[in-house]
């Protein structure tokens, strides 16, 4: 849809379609924000008390050894110089070496990022349609028992932290009833079905974590649209309640619903960190947490920036989709 709109925009007698301008503005603003975030993650953290060279060598290090290590790691350069060389490295896919084991960070991240995206992908594929469906049902039977049941269950899952949901699911589904494997082991060369079977528990947990919010806000968005005059018209002309919701309310609620979906997918970014630790899943979250404990700053900064970039990217996507979903912006007078 984006491609079609922009193509149409360019052919309108040379003038730029306003929607294209809005989208470009939003994306540019997002990239600027990402740049600022990278500065916070690099320079802000540098400004905190703490000394990387000291952290590696320990308290008993001689001043000479500290000096040598700093020179070797480039820590004697001014922070701004190091920030730009770090940023330049990131652009070209060079994230430097890990402090603790000297391995290439980009390589370590590459494989884990794939694992994490695999997990997040299936969580999204299951939770998004399910949340929208449940939201529609709850809106259709507003105030009656299906609505109360769905709302009640989702309200209680909102109050639970991710790792509690994780252990509850682990204890009951894997240990007590032994339906699924308890440890999410994946390794290269695994078949797709083996892989799916391995990640099923973490996927269930992630789905539960984001489902509640997504469903509640879908319900709210649809109920909001249901107050419009055209819904009354549709009811008066004799359409069934589900028809009214599906044909008239839902298309008009798409922008807020998409927004909610994207924000919750962004929330998956945080959930995935905890859930990976619960299930010992070899992904980005586990990688980040391990290296925070080891005080391996280059790894933490690179991984942290990737998480922040995904989060910001999904937020931009949410805004762009709601711009595109607005017919007034799509067909200007």
């Amino acid at each position: 849809m984006a491609a079609a709109t922009s193509a149409a925009g360019w052919h309108k007698g040379g003038s730029v379609h306003p929607i294209l301008l809005l989208v470009v503005q939003r994306v540019a603003l997002g990239l600027l924000l990402l740049l600022a975030v990278s500065a916070v993650i690099f320079l802000g953290v540098e400004a905190l008390p703490g000394d990387t060279a000291q952290a590696i060598l320990g308290q008993s290090a001689t001043p000479q050894a500290l000096e040598n290590l700093r020179a070797q790691m480039g820590l004697d350069q001014p922070p701004l110089t190091r920030y730009f060389s770090w940023l330049g490295g990131l652009m070209t896919g060079d994230m430097g070496l890990s402090l603790t084991n000297g391995q290439d960070i980009a390589q370590g991240i590459g494989q884990r990022l794939g694992n994490t995206l695999f997990l997040a992908f299936w969580a999204a594929v299951i939770s998004v349609p399910l949340a929208i469906l449940l939201g529609l049902v709850a809106a259709r039977y507003q105030g009656r028992w299906p609505d109360k049941l769905i709302s009640g269950v989702t309200l209680s899952t909102i109050s639970l932290p991710e790792f509690v949901v994780g252990y509850l699911v682990l204890y009951f589904l894997a240990v007590k009833w032994q339906i699924f494997p308890s440890v999410a082991m994946v390794f290269p060369g695994m078949g797709i079905f083996e892989r799916l079977n391995a990640v099923i528990l973490p996927v269930i947990v992630l789905v539960l974590v984001v489902l509640a919010h997504m469903m509640r806000m879908t319900r709210a968005a649809i109920l909001n649209v249901m107050q419009s005059a055209y819904i009354e018209t549709a009811e008066l002309k004799g359409l069934g309640p589900m028809q009214v919701i599906w044909r008239h309310a839902f298309p008009n609620a798409i922008a807020p619903v998409v927004n909610v979906v994207m924000l919750n997918l962004a929330y998956l970014v945080v959930g995935v960190v905890v859930v990976e630790v619960v299930f010992v899943y070899p992904g980005m979250g586990q990688y980040l947490v391990d290296h925070v404990a080891k005080r391996d700053l280059p790894v933490v900064q690179a991984a942290g920036l990737i998480f922040a970039a995904v989060y910001i990217g999904l937020n931009i996507l949410a805004d762009v989709i709601s711009i595109l979903a607005n017919p007034r912006l799509r067909h200007p007078k």
């Binding site: 924000l33 252990y167 960190v273 905890v274």
Partner: protein, 270 residues
């Protein structure tokens, strides 16, 4: 005016949790670090919640753990409220470039997920109680800032604020004597939600091994210590998990009630 049953229930449970936290040394049957039984002994008359991974009394650890969790979460919440509301009110009252700078900084910090930013910071700083409270308080202050600024912007255009300005009152008077009393009720309702967030946050950090460090214990840490038992069918790790959920839900019930009372002009649905 009657209090709804759910709010009463929430209030009783919240009170019980705080009571146990404050009087922990008086209530706890054993010493926190004392090994009093075997590894993961089941529930018995002497050990109401059984024993933990190295044979310490689970009930005792739960009580002391609750003390740490509630203390850290309360301290972080207070810090975030004091800092966030004062800065938010200042931004709303002064406007102009002060407002611009503060708001843009807050936008920037809120663009990074809290947990990720906290992890990045904690990889450099030493992980002590003070640092944890500071990090949690500062990160959460951004949310309080947004709310208090939004509330205060509506109040600053009121006639009585203009009257105070014309009288020649300073910004401190306007913030504390004119805006604060009128902005109090939405802030109090938000207090509960931020407290829950702080409890979940510190529990998550401790669960990841990056929060409260031994020998101190908190609920998230107790989940972590006992999580290995779950695979063998020993549910000890679920006890602190339930405690976290119970505290979160009961504070939520109270906060909901406060929110419904303060948003309704007639004083609530009763």
């Amino acid at each position: 005016m009657r209090m709804p049953f759910s709010a009463l229930l929430g209030l009783i449970f919240t009170g019980a949790f705080f009571f146990a936290a404050i009087f922990a040394p008086l209530i706890a049957p054993y010493d926190m670090a004392e090994v009093v039984g075997g590894v993961w002994d089941p529930v018995s008359a002497t050990h109401w919640f059984g024993t933990d991974a190295i044979g310490r009394d689970m009930l005792t650890r739960m009580i002391y753990g609750g003390q740490t969790t509630i203390f850290v979460a309360s301290a972080a919440t207070i810090l975030s409220f004091v800092l966030g509301s004062i800065l938010g009110f200042t931004a709303a009252v002064t406007g102009g470039w002060v407002d611009q700078i503060l708001s843009r900084i807050v936008d920037l910090i809120m663009a990074i997920p809290s947990l990720i930013l906290a992890l990045v910071i904690l990889s450099v700083t030493p992980v002590t109680l003070t640092v944890l409270i500071l990090v949690m308080g500062l990160l959460d202050a951004t949310r309080v800032f947004r709310l208090s600024r939004a509330v205060a912007v509506d109040i600053t255009v009121m006639d009585y604020v203009e009257a105070a300005r014309l009288r020649g009152e300073g910004w401190a008077w306007i913030i504390f004597r004119e805006i604060l009393p009128n902005a109090l009720s939405p802030l109090v309702a938000e207090l509960g939600l931020r407290f829950i967030f702080a409890v979940l946050f510190i529990s998550t950090l401790s669960f990841l091994g990056l929060g409260i460090q031994p020998p101190l214990a908190d609920w998230g840490g107790i989940v972590k210590e006992n999580s290995a038992g779950l695979v063998y069918g020993i549910p000890a790790a679920l006890i602190p998990a339930f405690a976290i959920a119970a505290l979160a839900i009961s504070v939520n019930l109270v906060a909901d009630w406060v929110l419904s009372r303060t948003t309704s002009l007639k004083g609530g649905r009763g």
